[in-house]
Symmetry: C2
């Protein structure tokens, strides 16, 4: 059970919903505390980007994610196609974060009254756009009309990539912390509606002996925190190494934007230093950059290491000018 992307989105713009967020996180912890699974059937339960269920000797991964009008998109501004696209893209990003291959998806759609047939076709085209691109057929679902706003819920199935499944848990002290792409500003420039899920990249990265991986939806600081908590480790992040996206480079709080904005849907992963060296030399991801931003350390502290070697707590708000 995750609240990843949705929390991130609700925090934007202006983080007015932090109170609601805490409640959700506490509810998710409640659910986890009450869940006991047979590991022969559910090797990985709630708490990662996808769950794993085992069936006839085959591991099947499954995740569900929703996009809601007014939270994850604004129908009147962005249109139905963007909503459909984001529903599929967020789920494909979860598949990428496990280093897995998409298998199929099902969707439920709650349509507002007055939603036109043209809008419905646009929404469907949005769902299909990335589904077709990533060989993830939409095989079923349910449609209903209601008095509420547009809500699209999508569930995705995946199978392990050739290198197996990569979880959030598994980071080890000394691991390099790396990321694909660059961070910040995705909400303001609408990149959160147009991003390319890193499915192919996740599969390639899986060949580099990754110890852990997550997709960055909540934001770099929060999602690195998820990896550290799941792995029982801490992290040092070099402030100067964090790749700031052009969408945020002009902002006076560019580093804070990169660490806290979220909605980047890039991959964050940890791996042994020698594997990181090999990866950085190989450059196997084409146009998609890989950047080493820090190191996994013992303990639970996540620190931002500034250019003058001063250390600060790594928080979503980023660099604290006044300390």
């Amino acid at each position: 059970m995750s609240s990843s992307g949705s929390i991130a989105n609700r925090m934007r713009p202006g983080r007015t919903f932090v109170r609601g967020k805490m409640k959700e996180v506490s509810f998710i912890n409640y659910i986890r505390s009450r869940s006991v699974f047979d590991p022969a059937v559910v090797p990985v339960g709630p708490g990662d980007d996808m769950a794993v269920v085992r069936c006839g000797g085959q591991d099947i991964l499954v995740a569900a994610d929703q996009v809601l009008d007014g939270v994850h998109f604004r129908l009147a501004e962005h249109g139905a196609r963007a909503a459909g696209r984001k529903a599929m893209a967020r789920n494909l990003s979860d598949v990428a974060a496990m280093a897995c291959e998409p298998l199929a998806a099902v969707a439920t759609v709650a349509l507002p009254r007055g939603f036109s047939e043209a809008d419905a076709k646009e929404m469907y085209a949005g769902l299909r756009e990335l589904g077709d691109q990533f060989s993830c057929p939409l095989v079923g679902g349910d449609i209903a009309t209601w008095d509420g706003a547009l809500a699209i819920s999508l569930s995705i199935l995946a199978t392990p990539g050739e290198a197996g499944i990569v979880l959030r848990a598994g980071s080890r002290v000394g691991d390099a912390i790396c990321v694909t792409g660059a961070f910040g500003g995705a909400w303001h420039t609408l990149r959160h509606l147009t991003f390319a899920p890193r499915v192919a990249e996740g599969l390639i990265l899986g060949r580099y002996g990754l110890h852990s991986m997550i997709d960055v939806s909540d934001g770099l600081a929060i999602d690195l925190g998820h990896v550290c908590e799941a792995s029982g480790v801490g992290a040092d992040v070099q402030a100067a190494a964090v790749p700031v996206h052009p969408d945020a480079q002009h902002r006076p709080d560019a580093l804070a934007a990169a660490l806290g904005d979220g909605e980047d849907y890039e991959l964050l992963f940890t791996l042994p230093q020698d594997q990181a060296e090999r990866l950085l030399a190989d450059k196997p991801l084409g146009d998609v950059t890989v950047t080493r931003i820090g190191t996994i350390v013992a303990g639970a502290a996540r620190s931002l290491v500034l250019a003058d070697r001063r250390r600060q707590e790594l928080v979503a708000g980023g660099w604290q000018h006044d300390t």
Copy 2:
């Protein structure tokens, strides 16, 4: 892609939403017309109670269904636990209709602002109640808060029962048409919130050489129509044989209620006459009755055969007094 239960619900009370319904059905047909699947990966696509995807030699079934405040339940009247229960129950009913075994479920929940932690726990208890009973663990999902009403979307995975998967398509001329349980009045008595999904019954029925099966959510007439359309056959239903639920027996339009109300979540299936005889003699479902209500015939017509042998078109409205 199905609109089964949701259409049924929106038609109640008073069928005020028939116009919306037609639009949904036409949209679903649009989706089907645009879907082409690799049968090696997707042996069964949209249009049945569940889709089937193949993975590593294993068939996995998947379906998604949603329950929306004001459509499938009324939060203020019925409470959060009933909403959660219905979300799981509707999906388990889809598993029953395929003669399959539940494997796991994922859910997304859109919470209205002001939804209390106590409500959230009740909703979760509702989801878990049948999940636990039917060995269908809730392994993941997503929670977000929004300005809208409560929307729960659940996706369910299943594996074939020992007798294999039973589809809607497959009815043959001469088949007996049988149903479990009795029909009518489920919306008015709230049986749609408390029904027991026929999962165990579906698995047992699978041993009787079924040619087709569906769960009755839209109503007996409409859902038998789905089976006939998928199978390319017609049907004669004996009016006197239709089991009317005690919830509707007092009503002057009891037969119409049984044929048209929907929300019964009983199983409707067809099978060779000799298998039907064996089933009716065996009575393998304990307290759950099985009734033979008619016969599959050639052509496309679905007819209601009255006691005086007059025939009428079988429609959701049931017996036409004025013809």
